[in-house]
Structure formats: structure tokens, C-alpha cells
Amino acid sequence: MEPVIRVNDLSTYFYTGAGVLRAVDGVSLHVDPGETVALVGESGCGKTVCSLSIMRLVRPPGRVVGGEVWFEGRNLLDVSERRMRRIRGDKIAMVFQEPSLSFDPVYSVGAQLAETLVQHKKLGRREALRKAVELLKMVEIADAERRAASYPHEFSGGMLQRAMIALAISCEPRLLIADEPTTSLDVTIQAQVLELLSETSQSLGSAVLLITHNFGIVSRYAKRAYVMYAGQVVETGPVHKLYQEPQHPYTADLWASVLDLDRPKKTRVLPSGKGISDLVHEDSKCAYFPLCQHRELECERERPELVAVDSSHHVLCHRVHSGGSVHVKQ
């Protein structure tokens, strides 16, 4: 099956005064039609820059320096800005982390939905507004007619995120990129919003790239995941395999950091250090070397290559050899 999107060796660097920051450093990933795939990692690992690179929305000093983004037979990195605009919001839509900051405060929510519909679906203003109300109903916003005329500051966070989902699905996109869609929300409504996201994307047949730092969300909503660290995908595979037999020490550490009330009190949390924010790393060693608890001499000498544990499970670690597998204790 042809994937909806295939990203090959994507690199996005930020040219800062302090040096070149490799926010995305040779990332490859794909999402199949209708599939929900997670991109996991802690803040600053390059997840968001990766999604913005796909959308070609990286702003200076950042720049996509290499790779390919194949979507509907075209490399998005090569198409004209005009064509890219027709793809954004229509065929690839995004849900952002902060709903309250992602709506323009001076226009009503309905007007912003309508604006998108007018842009892509060539609807008249009135028709677009009617469709906007329908969409708000679809995401279970009560009193949708009145709500469409309300301004973003009159919505609660959860409600606004549902409105943003309505916005994102308004043109029935083939791919939905949800960047930490529930991180800014109250815990009690996170599940609600995620359920809505998964239901609506399923009913439209949209594939979802779910960006999150929360492994709990990953295991519940995604079949497959990419684990990112310092701009690189360090491990990818079916979520159950990443859980049962994580090959990369970072994956294991991430799992260990998920709050689990059944575990004994004194549990390990994610090792932290200056490593993650300091992406101006050298070429010559494994990026996780400074924090890795399984590091070996080789890890400092050479940068690892992605190896296949099996056909669906890949890892970027010196300790794993093609076809083999190591047990990383949790």
C-alpha cells in the first residue's frame, strides 16, 4: 500500500549565533492511509520542527537543508509555494498545541472556519458559514449556531481545541498532523479531545501523525510510533514492540518515565542533563551518549546507523546488530 506521506532523510537546521542547531537530523518516516502514527519524544527533540518542515512552514533562522517529503506523487520540498498553499489546510491539516493562541483573537471562530473553507473549497461566504456551524456540531459543540459567532476568548480550552479539530477536518484532509493536541488542556478533557480526534479522523479516513511526549497517549491511540531524540529517529516500530522489547535505551527510559501508580515509589525517571536542548552536537558520536546508561566505548567513537531488528522494527543503537535484539532492562 502506498503511504499517504513518506519522508526521506529530512534535515532542518537552525543557523544560530551559537552554531548550527540540527533540529531535524535525517528523519525518515511514513504514514499509511487511515493509520495513526505517533512521533514521540520530549520537548526540544525536533518533533514540531519536523512537522513544520513537512508543511514547509519553518521560519528563519531555520531551513530545511535536505531530504524529501513525498505526498501524492510530489516532493513537497520542490513544489511551488502556490501549490503548497493549496495543500496546507486542505490535504494536510494541523492541530496545534495551544488552541487559545492558535485562533486569531479578533475574528469569530465561525469566521475562521469559513475563511478556510472559502480558501480551499471555493464556497460562498454564507455557505461557508453554514458549513462551519455543521462542523462545530460534528465536534459536539453545543449551540453551534451561536457558538460560531463567538470569539476565541469566549471558549474554554477544551472547546476551542474541538473547534480546532473541526477546522482541521473541514476540508477532509488526507493527513492530519496533531502537534501535542492535548498538552495544554485539563487532564479531565484530554481523553475527550483525543477520542474526538481519533473518531473524526477514522470517519473521514484521514491518516494521523500524532506528535506527543506522552507514551500513555501513544499506546492508546497509535499502532506504530517513531521515537525521536535530538533530531533523530532513534527507534521505530509497532507500539507493542516498543513497549515489550525496546531496543534503544532512550525508548526504555521514556517508558520508565510514564507515571505508573502500580510501580514502587522509588522509580527511575527520565535521566536529564543539558544534552537534549544542546542539539549542536557533533557528528562523531551517538546523540544519546551523554545520558545513556548502557553506553559503551564504541558509542563515543562513532555515530550509529539505523538497523532493522525485524522488518517493522528499526533502531539507531550500536548495541543492536541487524536481525539481532538486545534486552534493555527497564
Binding site: L52, M55, L57, R85, R86, I87, R88, G89, D90, A93, M94, F96, E98, L101, S102, F103, D104, P105, V106, S108, E115, T116, Q119, H120, Y151, H153, M164, L167
Partner: protein
């Protein structure tokens, strides 16, 4: 919006009452109008006679009552110089000042926002630097000197435009440009960071992710949000301009309120000075009220506060 309107209206009334009291106190504290109005060689008898005539020897509350009842009847006294009611005199000059202010503020707002937006879109570029140079020049220019130089060059040397006058489009070009210069520079200097701030906000990224064009994102979203800030400045500048740009109006012989005030001061026409002050101050209050209303329309969040 209705509540907001009522609240703003009440505040405006309070400001007007405050203004009336302040102007009265001001006229009482600045010295004896009679001796200010009369020439230096006037005798004590002449001064006393004028004081009687102007009612300055009456108790303060009588003067205040007379002043307020005059205002309520829209009577601002009579000009000593022209011998006609001050209000009529001022009103006959207001259109000239108003037209000049309107043309000038439009030039300043369009020019300023345009330059500022260009600079914001390409920060630290050559465009940005050139604009920064122009706006700095504009803000620091000495208007009467530049005005005289312009008259020398454009009117006297080249003969393109008249040196002064009123009534035709060609008459307004130079004074409007001169008056617009500084507000334009200031508006441009505020527009740049205002739009840059907006462009860095998440809703702009979200708008771009929805497939909107760059120009639409800037005009419909960033500029409108930045406009909330810019409106304050533009309104403030406009309020300043309706005071009548005394210097520019004088240089170009523009028959506006500013020119009138200069003449009134020159001729020591006390009632006219006070009357002009009141009218101009009322204008400023009315403009501020209008700005508040536009605010409410521009920013839905303000309506509820």
C-alpha cells in the same frame, strides 16, 4: 457592545466636566487677563475698567456660573479683535484645520503602516535599514525649517505648488506633507515591532497552516491585530493635529484654528484664546471617544471589559 458604548459615553461626559472646570481654574490662575490684554502703557483705571467690563471683579462663583451658563448656551463670548461671537469665528476656521488634519493623518497612517509593515516583513534587510533611516529623519525633522526649505524649492524655485493659500488641492499638498512627516515616522516606528510581534504569534502559524496566502495573513490577521495598538497612536496623533498645527498653519497661511490661536495670542484677545482652548479640547475628547468606539469594534475582547 451597548454596555461598552454607555460606559464610554459616561466617561466622556466626566472628562468634559473635568475639562470645563480645569479651563476655568486655568483662566483664574494665569494672571489678570485685563492687564495681559491691555498694552504695557495702560493705566490702572483702564485695567479696572476692563476688569469691570469683563466681570472679573465679580465673586468667583458668579464668574463660574456665568461661564458655565455661557457654555450651556454655546456662548463662548465675543472676540475683542473681530467683534463677533468666538464660537462662530472658531467654527469658521475649524473646517480648514479639520481637512488638513484629516489629509495629514491619512498620509501619515498609510505611509507609516506601509513602511513599518515592509520593515517588519524583512527585518534587518536593506529595506528595513533604508526605512529606518527615513523614519528617523522624519521624526527628528524640524518642521518649520523643512517647510521653509520646501517652499523655497518646490514653490519658489520650481514653481510647482503655491507658497500659501487655501481652497484648492494644490494648496493642501505641502502643509499636509509637512504635518504628516513626524506622525508618519512615529507610526512607522511603532508599526514595525507591532507587526513583528504579531507575526511571531502561534495564530499566524496556524493561519499559514490553513493555506492562507502571505498577504492575507499579514493584512487580515497580523495587521488587524497590530492595528489595535496602532490605532491608539494614530488617534493620539490625530487629536494632536486637530489642535491646529500652529506653526505649519502660520508658515503656509492656512486659515485654520492653529493660525487663529496664534493671531489671538498676538493680539491678546483673551476671550478668543479661552474659547479656542475649549473648542480644541472638546475636539480631542470627542476624537478619543470615537477611538474608543473603534477599539471596541476592532477588538472583541475589549467590549466585555
Amino acid at each position: 457592545m451597548k454596555d461598552y458604548f454607555i460606559r464610554r459615553s459616561l466617561l466622556t461626559v466626566v472628562a468634559l466636566v473635568g475639562l470645563i472646570v480645569v479651563v476655568f481654574l486655568f483662566t483664574q490662575s494665569i494672571g489678570d487677563p485685563a492687564s495681559i490684554m491691555l498694552p504695557d502703557w495702560a493705566t490702572e483705571e483702564m485695567i479696572q475698567a476692563l476688569r469691570d467690563k469683563m466681570g472679573l471683579n465679580d465673586p468667583l462663583y458668579v464668574q463660574f456660573g456665568r461661564y458655565v451658563s455661557g457654555l450651556l448656551r454655546l456662548d463662548l463670548g465675543t472676540s475683542l479683535w473681530q467683534g463677533i461671537p468666538n464660537l462662530d469665528l472658531i467654527m469658521s476656521r475649524l473646517p480648514a484645520t479639520f481637512i488638513l488634519a484629516l489629509v495629514a493623518i491619512s498620509l501619515a497612517a498609510f505611509g507609516g503602516v506601509f513602511l513599518g509593515a515592509l520593515a517588519a516583513i524583512w527585518p534587518r534587510s536593506v529595506v528595513d535599514r533604508v526605512i529606518s533611516f527615513i523614519t528617523t529623519l522624519a521624526v527628528t525633522s524640524v518642521d518649520f525649517w523643512v517647510a521653509l526649505m520646501l517652499i523655497l524649492l518646490v514653490s519658489v524655485k520650481l514653481g510647482w505648488l503655491p507658497t500659501s493659500g487655501y481652497g484648492e488641492v494644490k494648496h493642501i499638498v505641502l502643509p499636509a506633507l509637512m504635518i504628516a512627516l513626524r506622525p508618519m515616522g512615529r507610526i512607522a516606528q511603532v508599526t514595525r515591532p507591532a507587526i513583528m510581534d504579531e507575526l511571531a504569534k502561534p495564530y499566524i502559524l496556524a493561519a499559514r497552516a490553513r493555506g492562507l496566502s502571505t498577504s492575507r495573513v499579514i493584512v487580515r490577521h497580523a495587521a488587524r491585530n497590530a492595528g489595535i495598538v496602532l490605532l491608539t497612536l494614530t488617534g493620539y496623533e490625530f487629536a494632536g493635529l486637530v489642535n491646529g498645527s500652529a506653526i505649519i498653519e502660520t508658515v503656509f497661511g492656512w486659515p485654520g484654528v492653529g493660525f487663529l490661536l496664534v493671531q489671538a495670542i498676538k493680539l491678546r484677545d483673551w476671550p478668543l484664546i479661552v474659547g479656542t482652548t475649549i473648542v480644541v479640547a472638546v475636539m480631542v475628547i470627542v476624537i478619543n471617544f470615537a477611538i474608543d468606539l473603534i477599539y471596541g469594534w476592532l477588538d472583541p475582547r475589549i467590549r466585555y471589559h
